[in-house]
Amino acid sequence: MVVSLTSGVAEAARKPNKTKKAAPTEVKKVAPTLPAEKLAKVRELLFGEDDQAALDAAKALGQSGASNAYEPLVDLLSVGAPPARTQAAIEALGGLADPRTVDVLEVYAGNRSADVRRRAVKSLAVIKDDHVVAALLTALGDAAPDVRAVAADALAARKESKAGPRLLELVKRNDAGAAPALGLLATPELVPQLAELQGTVDDNVVAAALGEYLKRDDVPDPLRVDVVQTIGRLSGAASTAALVEYLAAIPAKDDRPSKKVAQKLVDEKGTAK
């Protein structure tokens, strides 16, 4: 049976939306289009009785890169499917990164299953659409650490500085998944607040955040020195790892002061062991 029925999200996906859902012109220009017969056949597989065939069809659609590949996937999600097909369809949409799928992915980002939410947030994360940022910021408040971590990484990859304060709140709650993202997004004003968490938050979490911060190119070296010294005062393996990773990231000929301080601290930590 080929489904022509639509739910709320399918309707939304099909309607042209001038404000946020118009596909980027470059997608229209370069992406191939699946022929109608092919699309109909894949749709039948997606909705058919053979579970494995449905999963394979979803995967193939996700890998096709076709500009209309999202349609049967959105249709499937719009009428609902058993968990395995749902997850496969969501992952496939991640492969397509089509802005027209934002609505359906947002619906599934509110699913009761943390696994479904994680996949939906991950697929949202790759879509280049401003509307996605709000969904990712919302996902930082998810009860599941995996979902938060995916959202945090996505926001960091997008360099969304708006996420900084919420990521700091997560780090204050010992959320290890948020720490690297915070390091990547933290403004210089946030760094002292992060450093002050020493003693109230797991040192490894603070070290992970500061370690990422150190590796950024946009940080002035005097501030790096302060951060290196802060990391040096932290206990746990993560603080040593952060310093070692920092040293590894610096070109051999670079003789910045923070490198010397970091090297000294690594040596001291090694001696102490």
């Binding site: 739910s7 709320g8 939304a12 999600l77 009428v79 609902g80 058993p82 509110g110 299953s113 009860a143």
Partner: protein, 608 residues
């Protein structure tokens, strides 16, 4: 042996020709005894007629007894005294039980007047004062409530000299009460023996045939006895029939401990104890049937006082004393007088609960108190009286975590009060973290029941909150708020309900209530969310066991939607991966509504 068995055996024994209780229950005897008693004025017992309170003090200064003048607001005297039982007040002396004696002190100075020793083989069961005489019940030999010889002894209140002694028919005797020259003594839980205060002669015996008589109580308006209720001593109650109009029983809510007076068979209740802080306060009309004065009874529950309509149990007023517990209280006629553990002395208007009087004994620890303030009506200092709903709110929000039963009652009563502010208070309870689940439940049920159509915006505001791990916020009580929204037809709450339906933390039970609420409100804006909910979960095996949320959401779609929703539901009903219980429900629901849908469809096309 339990008290019921004792009563049965006694009832059998009373039929015997040789029984000491042969005339028990004689209304003629009781009438004759009452005729001998003198009328009693409604005024304090002390000769000066001043409203006084006698305070058992503790703390670093050691155990003491103090007399406090309520009108002058000053301590009259304080004496070292190790009280083992409560103070009874007479004309010129006060008496109290000490370790091995009954001690009398001068009422004006506190100086010891006399001491009546209790012998080693004697047990002081209780005592009282009436005019110039002190009466005490004593058991010699035997064990508590069993065996030995019971007797009532009369002493001259001024000197402590023995006037007479009357040997009772049993050693199982309780503390006496006396009024107008008539002494009433509970015996074997079922009798009240009436003695002539002057001679000690037995005048009559009451047979409390339908409930144990654990107390006798002397008040200006009469002599009373009973346990679960109150009998006014009269010829009509000589045989203790609860059917007579001489029996009174207040209708009170379940949290109230039904203690009308102390159990006089239990000497430990003769001392100040927790029982003084948690009991019923009552007075009767001056004569006639046993009817509570102004049809009111009062409940003292530690820091809280409540006035109830004795006939219906309806709450008339409430008072919440801040911080400290009232350790003693008394209904002195038109006022409820009380003293707190940290030395606050207060009085409340019996009709309104308004605070009439406030005085303080700074730096004192009060263990217990006896009021001699009959008829005292404090002048009534100007105080603002909070509304009943305000007082009930303070009880609900009181930080003291011991009184959940009272708080539950306060929520229940709060819900009966009108006004948006009450709805707001109930909503705040549902938002408060750390309360016992039963409290949330009670507040939520109250919200649902009140159907306050004027407060939809408040409900919508409460529903706007949602869980957020980063912000450390938990979800509101969506399930109950949704029920309330449906009951209120709160249109303003629709956007928030939609948002919660789409959120992952919304439980299936809450989703069910949201869907029902949206259908009840007529929230057609929710159709896309309802469609998404049904489709997203319709093939999720997690709903195989309990499809209630899906059923509720699909019902809401049928109620609110049109042909497009029916078409979708028809598809889901036939689609094999839809969980079976939902398919079954959809087929039935679609069949039942097929006619109506057809009519609606043709009506729509005709309109077009």
């Amino acid at each position: 042996m339990n008290r019921t068995v004792v009563i049965a055996l006694i009832a059998f024994a009373s039929g015997c020709a040789t029984s000491a209780y042969q005339r028990a229950g004689s209304s003629e005897d009781v009438a004759s005894a009452l005729a001998k008693s003198a009328p009693v004025a409604s005024r304090p017992a002390n000769a000066a007629g001043k409203p006084l309170v006698f305070l058992a003090l503790g703390g670093v200064k050691g155990p003491r007894l103090a007399a406090y003048d309520l009108t002058a607001e000053r301590v009259l005297w304080t004496q070292p005294a190790n009280l083992k039982a409560r103070v009874e007040v007479g004309t010129d002396v006060v008496v109290y039980g000490a370790a091995d004696a009954l001690v009398a002190r001068d009422i004006t100075t506190g100086a010891e007047r006399w001491s009546h020793a209790i012998a080693r083989d004697e047990r002081l069961l209780g005592y009282t004062i009436d005019g110039s005489s002190v009466y005490l019940s004593v058991q010699k030999g035997g064990a508590h409530l069993h065996g030995g010889v019971g007797s009532v002894v009369a002493l001259d209140a001024a000197t402590g000299v023995r006037r007479w002694s009357h040997e009772m028919s049993s050693g199982d005797v309780g503390a006496p009460a006396a009024r107008g020259g008539l002494v009433a003594v509970p015996v074997q839980s079922q009798y009240v023996t009436l003695l002539d205060g002057k001679s000690g002669d037995q005048l009559a015996q009451v047979l409390s045939s339908e409930e144990a008589a654990t107390f006798v109580r002397a008040l200006p308006e009469g002599l009373f006895f009973g346990s679960h209720g109150v009998f006014r001593l009269s010829p009509a109650t000589a045989a203790g029939s609860r059917k007579s109009d001489g029996y009174g029983h207040a209708t009170l809510p379940p949290f109230v401990r039904p203690v009308y007076w102390f159990d006089l068979y239990r000497p430990e209740q003769g001392d100040y104890s927790a029982l003084d802080r948690n009991r019923i306060l009552w007075r009767m009309t001056p004569d006639g049937a046993a009817r509570f004065r102004d049809d009111l009874t009062f409940v003292h529950n530690y820091r809280f006082f409540f006035g109830f309509d004795a006939r219906t149990g309806a709450l008339r007023w409430a008072y919440n004393h801040p911080v400290s517990e009232a350790v003693a209280s008394a209904d002195v006629g038109d006022a409820i007088a009380f003293v707190t553990a940290d030395g606050d002395v207060g009085a409340l208007d019996t009709r309104t609960g308004r605070r009439l009087y406030a005085a303080r004994l700074p730096g004192e620890v009060v263990r217990g108190a006896t009021f001699d303030a009959e008829g005292w009506t404090p002048a009534g200092k100007a105080t603002t009286t909070p509304s009943l709903s305000e007082t009930l709110s303070t009880i609900v929000w009181d930080p003291d975590r011991r009184f959940w039963d009272v708080k539950m009652f306060a929520i229940e009563e709060l819900a009966r009060q009108p006004g948006r502010e009450v709805t707001d208070q109930l909503l705040k309870i549902t938002e408060q973290e750390g309360l016992p689940p039963a409290v949330y439940q009670k507040a939520g049920e109250a919200l649902v029941a009140r159907k306050d159509a004027t407060s939809g915006d408040l409900l919508a505001h409460a529903l706007e909150a949602h869980a957020d791990y980063a912000d450390g916020r938990t979800a509101p009580a969506v399930e109950i708020l949704a029920r309330a929204a449906g009951a209120m037809k709160a249109t303003a709450a629709v956007p928030a309900l939609i948002a919660h339906l789409r959120r992952p933390e919304t439980s299936p039970a809450a989703a069910t209530q949201i869907a029902r609420a949206l259908a009840a409100i007529g929230g057609t804006d929710a159709l896309p969310a309802l469609r998404d909910f049904v489709t997203m979960y319709r093939a999720d095996p997690i709903y195989d066991g309990d499809p209630a949320p899906l059923v509720a959401a699909s019902e809401a779609m049928l109620t609110l939607g049109g042909p497009a929703e029916r078409e979708l539901l028809l598809y889901l009903a036939e689609e094999p991966r839809t969980v079976e219980p939902l398919r079954v429900h959809l087929r039935r629901a679609l069949a039942q509504t097929a006619g109506a849908a057809g009519v609606a469809a043709s009506s729509t096309s005709a309109d077009e």
